[in-house]
């Protein structure tokens, strides 16, 4: 055999073949051992650890995606939408899927308009949310912007356009102080809201009905099991637990009346509250000036917000719920009733009004608004002509304890518990209150001025309306309520709210309800009534009481001359009323800040509101 021989030693073919065979057997056994090793490894992975890896595989491909529920709608009593959900396109980014966030934002800014406010808000939210959750960058994309982005979309992994429902308040300013608004969930709220039910939700009710009924309006979150690929893109839906939309709310609010009340207030700063005396339903609640709630929904920009905050007329303040005004003479009917209940006032008992009142042994004069005095005044004249001296004297006789207690029965000094967030309770002063808050004793003079609704006492327009309704119902308080009924989504069945009747105001001389009411009717209808100027043309009978509350104190011998005083120190004009007298259906409280006298400035507003309610329906 040919072959390149490097050695001359003789080969032994049989031995070489045997050597090879031995080695080949060893090699084959080695191969079998190694394959067995692989087999064991596979057995370990696939049989022993199978469940573990099966879970991992499932976790790999299945993502649980929350589906935010559709927020319940809010309607007025006639079905006019006050809060609705409009579809809008927003640009959303999943931070996890974006390699270089700032660079991506810069690139996106070339396609769609992204201002520094959007950018800041977005970056703040990126920190708050989990990395794989989509965070909106821009809302309300125009169709052109949607189209421009759609073309460039492959360049932006992790960025997508989402069609979302955005809360919208079609009536804007008109409902800002009742319906309130929703806005993005703040960092604080994120910590306090149930993270499971708010997974996927970006907004939460902040004020008003939107806040008070958050739980009902929000609905129940749904879930979707989505199959995703390694890049995190959703491929198909495996299973779906649909969200349950929020409950739709129907309010007592009558938007026509609300608009009429707003128009009636005109340019005045102030508030109007109208209650349905039969059930406590809030027919209208106006606080002027108002503001447009819509910019708040997706985050109002700092400049606009500061402008609202620094506005001297304080449009963000809900005066109807949170404005605490000295109620002035409007409380006189209630004080009269306190006197009746305690046997200090009766039909034939009178007080002489020389134009001032003096506590025996003291020099200080408590003046009546009428300079020359009213002369002999009984309870009718006291209410009709709003004689201060009568009430100085009555308050002195009652003392602060009995006055405080009885006024409290009408709701003064405590929140009405209305179903709108943010209500304040006003103040009904007492000895105890003064000791606790000021660590001072109560002075008799303070009782005197409390009798005409001045001094420490303050009340919100809602409280005044509530007290008026209670009076109209002859002592039966019905808690003010804005929610009329709720309805599950897509259901015509209304769950109607049951009015809550509270403990009646005690009055052992029942006939005096009518006397007081008659006197209040005369405030409007008699020739000497302080609100007589609104009587012409009235086709129904209205009972009312004027109030002109002082914003600053006059010196002992000074005279209040409106023209000599800057506008912001003018008296507040107040008026409370209900109608028709025979069968009251509506109770109204009006306050016009720094407008002047109640009879001249506030009463006409109240009449317009009541007219709109009682007469407007017949059209």
């Amino acid at each position: 055999m040919a072959g390149l021989r490097l050695t001359s030693v003789l080969k032994d073919p049989l031995r070489e073949a045997r050597i090879f065979q031995d080695r080949a057997v060893v090699a084959l056994m080695g191969a079998m051992v190694l394959l067995a090793l692989v087999g064991l490894r596979l057995f370990y992975l696939q049989v022993i650890s199978h469940e573990h890896f099966q879970t991992l595989s499932r976790d790999n491909r299945v993502k649980i995606a929350p589906i935010p529920p559709t927020r319940g709608l809010i309607y007025d009593r006639n079905g006019v939408p006050l809060a609705e959900n409009l579809p809008t396109f927003s640009l959303e980014i999943v931070p996890d899927q974006v390699a270089n966030l700032p660079a991506t934002l810069d690139e996106l800014a070339k396609i769609v308009d992204i201002n520094s406010v959007d950018r800041k808000r977005f970056l703040r939210q990126v920190k708050q949310r989990r990395r794989f959750e989509a965070v909106p960058l821009r809302f309300h994309l125009t169709e052109e912007e949607v189209a421009r982005f759609a073309v460039q979309r492959p360049r932006f992994p992790g960025v997508d356009i989402e069609a979302r429902l955005t809360r919208h308040y079609p009536l804007g300013e008109l409902t800002s102080h009742t319906v309130g608004y929703v806005a993005r969930i703040s960092e604080w709220e994120l910590r306090h809201l149930d993270s499971a039910s708010y997974a996927g939700s970006s907004h939460v009710g902040k004020v008003g009905v939107e806040h008070f009924y958050e739980e009902q309006l929000h609905g129940k979150v749904g879930y979707e099991q989505v199959e995703i690929n390694a890049q995190g893109r959703s491929l198909r839906v495996l299973s779906r637990t649909p969200p349950v939309s929020g409950t739709d709310l129907y309010l007592y609010l009558d938007i026509r009346l609300q608009a009429a009340a707003e128009a009636a207030l005109g340019d005045n700063t102030g508030a109007v509250v109208a209650l349905d005396t039969k059930n406590g339903g809030l027919l209208a609640l106006v606080s002027k000036p108002g503001y447009d709630p819509n910019p708040f929904v997706n985050g109002i920009d700092g400049k606009s917000y500061r402008a609202l905050q620094n506005d001297a007329s304080r449009p963000l303040l809900n005066r109807a719920l949170r404005g605490q005004y000295p109620p002035g003479s409007t409380i006189k009917p209630f004080v009269t009733l306190a006197g009746v209940e305690h046997g200090l006032v009766s039909g034939n008992k009178g007080v002489y009004c020389p134009g001032f009142y003096r506590i025996s042994g003291e020099e200080h004069k408590y003046r009546c608004w009428k300079h020359g005095g009213h002369g002999a005044v009984d309870l009718n004249r006291a209410i009709i002509e709003s004689c201060d001296v009568f009430y100085y004297s009555l308050a002195a006789d009652l003392g602060i304890d009995r006055l405080d207690d009885y006024m409290g029965r009408f709701g003064f000094g405590s929140k009405t518990g209305v179903d709108i967030s943010g209500e304040l309770g006003g103040l009904m002063p007492s000895r105890e209150w003064k000791r606790v808050t000021r660590n001072q004793i109560w002075y008799p003079g303070e009782t005197i001025i409390t009798g005409i609704g001045q001094g420490f006492m303050s009340a919100t327009p809602l409280q005044l309306a509530f007290a008026t309704a209670t009076l109209a119902n002859r002592g039966l308080p019905i808690q003010p309520h804005i929610l009329y009924a709720s309805a599950e989504p897509h259901s015509r069945v209304l769950r109607v709210y049951q009015p809550k009747v509270q403990e009646p105001v005690p009055m052992h001389k029942v006939g005096y309800w009518d006397r007081i009411i008659q006197a209040m009717a005369d405030v409007v209808h008699s020739s000497s009534g302080t609100a007589k100027r609104i009587s012409p043309g009235l086709t129904y009978r209205m009972a009312g009481k004027t109030g002109t509350s002082q914003v600053f104190g006059l010196g002992q011998d000074e005279k209040y001359v409106k023209e000599h005083i800057p506008k912001n120190l003018w008296d507040h004009a107040l008026f409370i009323a209900f109608a028709p007298v025979e069968d009251p259906r509506i109770a109204v409280a009006v306050i016009a800040e720094h407008a002047g006298s109640g009879g001249a400035m506030a009463a006409p507003i109240a009449r317009q509101v009541v007219d709109a309610y009682l007469l407007g329906e017949k059209e």
Partner: protein, 373 residues
């Protein structure tokens, strides 16, 4: 030569014999290729084009096998030193003028085709060492062993420099298997293994960063689940979630949702494991074992030492491919870029591999004639 064979009752000349093809081995290889195509169809996202391209490569591979089956081992023995020398020159050429791809200089661009000279070495190495040892007496003497070691280390060193650690190890293994099969003393083998273990820290020092990463990742893939450890973690999830019977063909979620990296090339076994489960894998392992056993049987049948050594070492190299790939995919070994023979999608290695089987068949075809002549 073939015609000089005496006619006998057994000489019922079949087509396979005529073409120098070993029927059992051919069947084994065809089965493997068939399994490969089935898995590839799933792994490639049910793209018929990928399967078609693989079919063309398989045709080329089997063609190469057919050609090599016709070359007598005798000629291979004579050509061995020349092939080896040319392989070394090509490796040098790569280091000087090779193309860079994926961070390593492995490719030689010949204008019409690009190829990796290291692939040639996979054949040239066992040919040359077998040639060297078969020329002397077996078991080999020390002088010849040292010469063999020298011949082995030169190309290995050149391939490590590219750097292509995986191929270097396979080439070294091919040479080492010749030494093992030639009957090198167990003492020497033990000493060499001990020396290797002692040198391990030094080797560690010489490794490139990405190579160290691979080893570290192998030891603890969970330390970087989204980075370097991702491959092996996802591969293990695919295998483990397959269970006993698998998720079914085309139903592997890990594979079809892109979680398995390199799923139609190096990690194709994970796809098979996910879809066919432990049962399917065992069948595949048995198929591989059959091919290896048949290869060793053929080697043992050879009448010449050169034929035995070459056929044996080629068979064992084939097994090393299988084992390294399976070990890598199942997390037993670090990630080394070794395809699964006949299953993975890919060209060059398939042709070399099939050429090696052609040599085996040639050894088988020629052994019996030698006996009779």
């Amino acid at each position: 030569m073939a015609l000089s064979r005496p006619l006998s009752a057994e000489a019922n000349i079949s087509l396979a014999r005529l073409l120098h093809l070993d029927l059992p081995l051919l069947v084994g290889l065809c089965l493997l290729a068939g399994v490969g195509l089935v898995v590839l169809y799933s792994a490639g996202g049910q793209d018929p084009a990928i399967v078609a391209r693989q079919l063309v490569r398989l045709a080329l591979g089997f063609g190469a096998m057919g050609i090599f089956a016709q070359i007598s081992p005798h000629y291979l023995e004579r050509a061995a030193p020349w092939v080896y020398g040319m392989g070394v020159l090509l490796l040098l050429a790569v280091l000087v003028a090779g193309d860079v791809g994926k961070g390593a200089q492995r490719w030689l661009n010949l204008g019409v085709l690009r190829f990796q000279p290291a692939e040639v070495m996979k054949m040239a190495m066992p040919m040359a060492i077998s040639w060297l040892l078969a020329a002397g007496t077996l078991p080999p003497r020390l002088g010849r062993l040292l010469l063999a070691a020298f011949m082995l280390l030169i190309p290995v060193f050149l391939i490590v420099r590219q750097p292509d650690l995986g191929t270097a190890l396979l080439v070294a293994a091919a040479g080492a298997f010749v030494l093992l099969l030639a009957g090198m003393s167990w003492w020497i083998i033990g000493l060499l293994l001990a020396a290797l273990a002692a040198l391990a820290p030094l080797v560690w020092h010489l490794l490139r960063d990405y190579q160290r990463d691979r080893v570290l990742m192998f030891l603890n893939p969970e330390s970087d689940p989204l980075g370097a450890g991702y491959h092996i973690i996802q591969s293990k999830i695919a295998i483990g979630s397959g269970g006993l019977y698998g998720k079914g063909w085309l139903n592997g979620t890990q594979a079809h949702l892109d979680f398995i990296p390199e799923r139609h090339t190096d990690f194709i076994f994970a796809v098979l494991a996910e879809e066919f489960g432990l049962v399917g894998e065992i069948l595949l392992l048995l198929l591989y074992l059959f091919v290896v056993a048949r290869g060793l049987y053929i080697a043992n049948q050879s009448i010449t030492s050169y034929g035995r050594l070459l056929a044996g070492s080629l068979t064992l190299t084939f097994f090393v491919y299988v084992f390294v790939n399976l070990g890598m995919v199942s997390g037993l070994l670090p990630v080394v870029g070794v395809p699964l023979p006949l299953i993975s999608y890919g060209g060059t290695s398939l042709v070399t591999l099939m050429a090696a089987f052609g040599i085996l068949m040639s050894v088988q075809a020629h052994s019996k004639y030698s006996l009779c002549s």
